[in-house]
Subunit: 116 residues, 2 copies
DNA sequence: TGATTACCCGTACAGGCACACGGGTATGCG
DNA sequence: CGCATACCCGTGTGCCTGTACGGGTAATCA
């Protein structure tokens, strides 16, 4: 219908593969448990699995699973002290995610009084 | 183990419900098709369904489904001209998402030469 | 008016995800 | 050395999500 626009968009839009990598990263944030884990670690710097479960009122299974994915993705790192494993945000944790996505979006949800 | 930290985190971490709303919004970006739809609309301002499918090299079904969700969420709006329906980003499309999440994360994927 | 186009909707189905469960390992204590 | 704790891992299951398929509606063209 409008080949010019189609070509323009087609040339500049990321490939489905690149978009896949991008959305894979976003998907890690797009889960209540994982998002709250990241929030918690952003707040108190360091927490062990058990305390994290208490703070989020979630099961250790859920938290453990969340940490596993975040760890695999390199978003969090673990420090083992005795039998306790402490987690914190990785040094290389993407600042844009931390600053803009998490915090900005948190305010967005506040503004959204909807849906009246 | 560390009740103080647990209490501190517990008090400030968003509820699972609030986190759910937040992650629901993020989930809309966390899909290759939807993300590319938004990219395309960010680039050329306005596109109809068929052209969008061509630009993304996706089926109309996939694009139609993506647009349905984006539309329901209020991220895109439609303008009907004859039999053709043109879509564009909603005026109220969250700028932080547009500016920071989409564009910033796009650059992130570029930096990530991994996984050598 | 009849046929075709562009799009929407309901249904069906495959695939993945988050979580629960059971077992295993390493650490600390007596 | 033997037991308990804190955590990790493999497996199984219910749920949700994304897409393909078929039919339907509104609008253009002859």
């Amino acid at each position: 219908m409008d080949p010019a626009r189609v070509a323009a968009a087609r040339a500049r839009v990321p490939s489905r593969d690149d978009a896949g990598q991008l959305t894979a990263a976003l998907s890690l944030l797009a889960d209540p448990t994982r998002a709250r884990v990241l929030y918690a670690l952003d707040l108190v710097e360091e927490l062990c699995v058990g305390d994290l479960a208490l703070a989020l009122e979630a099961t250790e299974d859920a938290v453990g699973y969340a940490l596993r994915l975040l760890r695999t993705a390199g978003f969090v790192v673990s420090r083992k002290e005795g039998r306790v494993v402490y987690y914190r945000l990785a040094d290389g944790f993407p600042e844009p995610l931390r600053e803009h996505c998490l915090r900005q979006l948190l305010e967005l949800t506040r503004e959204t009084d909807e849906d009246g």
